[in-house]
Symmetry: C2
Subunit: 353 residues, 2 copies
DNA sequence: CGGTGTGGGGAAACCGGTTGCTGGACGAGG
DNA sequence: CCTCGTCCAGCAACCGGTTTCCCCACACCG
């Protein structure tokens, strides 16, 4: 009555199974575990007891004993964002394909929360922790992230930065980025090639590295073509749909002059598009528009959005693969840069046509 | 050299900390754990050792010992779907708010995979498992799900069905649904009230309960208004954007007669809208369109989509709350039904106007 | 018939924590 | 000065598994 009673919600232990099968716990473990020689009669008896009790071994106990499925932590800003969702999907698929469990946490941009979660993952002895999505690249950020990277590395785990500002070289970190600047450059060059000279840039937070990269591309494309940029055409907000909507309304209200809009994100572009429609402007007739990310919805906007495709799902897959399967040079800090390409749809037209 | 060597990637144990602080493991545990009386000098020594070694207690070991954060499992079809993402967000937020970890798994509609994951969750001794998203309501499904529900309940855990066909009464399951039929009824009634008589229904898989509920609402609204329904106007596909696009093209090619389209999903509506645009039809001028779900993107379609709002995020929150905080009647099977309401935007017009 | 090899299974140590119980040291009071 | 009570810390058992080591029984062979 003191223990081993199965009356309350208590799960049955391996010893319960052993007792029911009339063998020792060791034998049950061996039957279940694998390749140790066990006589057929014993095996059947044990299996029968297992089935009768509907026994499942405690994964945590197995983990502690050194056997068992490693888990992997996954942190993102907000699963609600389509690009994050795509990465999450990639991560999750690849993790389960490799037989890993996936602990997830969204931070809503709270850096402290993020750090806390990484600490939790360390306590969980996660095989790797994947941090996803851009952030502010402050010295403070670098220091703190480098510290958790060290802590993780010391524990035999690994920190993966995915589409996020890399740390100083030497930090035990795997970085997987995609080319924000290159994609934005190509995209902006495309718009410029249609004759547009004044392109409104709807950016993200000023210290957000993803936003910075895309703005750099925007600027570089102008420079390469010898087109001067007007600082008043560069607005900052965040990566949400509402930001795009609001920024666009403000730009319209301020009577800013532009013939094209480059949004830092497809979401921003979607909001901007709605604002344009509401103002009675047509796209691409009156103004051209491009986004960034190529989220699935981009083609269902009207007009279908010209944007830069980022292989988000593949990014997530890659993150877990490199995090887990880093055979050679266990401490080598890898850095991958995935390319992006522009996909032309219907939202940009030639100026003056 | 045999053990306790910290050379490889091995994390430090509580005994390492104890040794370094010159105390026993029990004392370290008590210092860290909480309220047990410990002298100040000992406490400082231990804390110092903890900091030196950057020690974090193994959460799995704690869990096994009966202390520690319970986790909770979360299964969905595909995190990429906006409504799923919303629910996932709600689940995750509420779980972390309550101090629980969140193990996630997406099944891509594979029932076997789903069952496997639930089994894994049982092995993890998850506090609850939340199954999200509709499925086929076959006898086989009921039997298998009921079985895992029993297994979970026997282990002191709980299965939560969220927006998904309920089991036979008596099964130890918490069901949280939203009113598919009612929402579809209201939505369809709204369309009918604008004078539309022939409404194309773009449905999901025939045996999918969510799709069925919405179709029932569609039919009931017709019946209530005395409008006859034409079976050839009810097409089946799935809940994806591509399905809507394809179905709409087929309907157009087949020269089906209709003045309005009711899509089973906003995603389906998005695809359908694009197909309509491509065919040179205007919405709502030539044909009216409604969706279902009120995903964030719905208002950025052009025209902004009239649809039924489902409180997905709240649904997720509620799921974990009821799953975890079921105080009274530990074995009572609860059943919650959340209401939906139609949100009118610009995609339906009066017929003949 | 006895020695040896081997297959099968149990006792016990271990994984990394927690906690009940015990006991020593120290201060206070008689 | 002795005794008693309190405070603190350690020993050891326990959580639920795995695995090493060992022993027993049996078959086989000389």
């Amino acid at each position: 009555m003191t223990r081993k009673s199965a009356d309350n919600g208590s799960r049955s232990t391996i010893r319960d199974v052993a007792a029911r099968a009339g063998v020792s716990a060791a034998t049950v473990s061996r039957v279940l575990g694998g390749v140790y020689p066990v006589s057929t009669t014993t095996r059947t008896r044990v299996m029968r007891a297992v089935r009768d009790l509907d026994y499942v071994a405690d994964a945590r106990a197995k983990a502690i004993a050194g056997v068992g499925t490693p888990t992997l932590g996954f942190v993102l800003d907000d699963i609600t964002g389509p690009s994050f969702a795509l990465m999450a999907h990639g991560v999750e698929r690849e993790a389960t394909r490799l037989g890993h469990l996936c602990l997830v946490c969204s931070t809503d941009g709270d850096a402290q929360h993020e750090l806390d979660f990484v600490e939790t993952m360390r306590a969980q002895r996660a095989a790797a922790v994947i941090l996803v999505g851009g952030g502010a690249d402050t010295p403070d950020y670098r220091a703190r992230t480098a510290h958790v990277a060290d802590a993780l590395a010391a524990a035999g785990s690994r920190l993966v930065l995915c589409g996020r500002p890399p740390l100083d070289p030497g930090a035990p970190v795997t970085v997987i980025e995609y080319d924000n600047e290159g994609g934005a450059y190509a995209l902006c060059a495309h718009v410029l090639s249609q004759g547009h000279q004044r392109i409104l840039f709807l950016g993200g937070k000023p210290d957000h590295t993803t936003a910075q990269g895309r703005e750099r591309g925007y600027l570089a494309a102008h420079r390469a073509r010898g087109v001067e940029t007007d600082p008043t055409l560069r607005l900052t907000g965040d990566f949400t749909r509402d930001s795009g909507y609001r920024l666009m309304r403000e730009a319209l209200a301020a009577r800013l002059e532009f013939t094209a809009v480059m949004a830092a994100t497809d979401m921003v572009a979607a909001g901007a598009l709605t604002a344009l429609h509401e103002a009675g402007l047509t796209v691409p007739g009156d103004v051209s528009l491009v986004g960034y990310d190529d989220i699935p919805f981009a083609r269902d906007l009207h007009p279908a959005l010209t944007t830069a495709h980022v292989p988000y799902e593949e990014l997530g897959r890659l993150a877990v693969r490199t995090a887990l399967g880093r055979e050679r040079g266990s401490s080598s800090d890898e850095h991958l840069l995935l390319g992006t390409h522009v996909v032309v749809r219907d939202s940009v037209g030639a100026v003056g046509s």
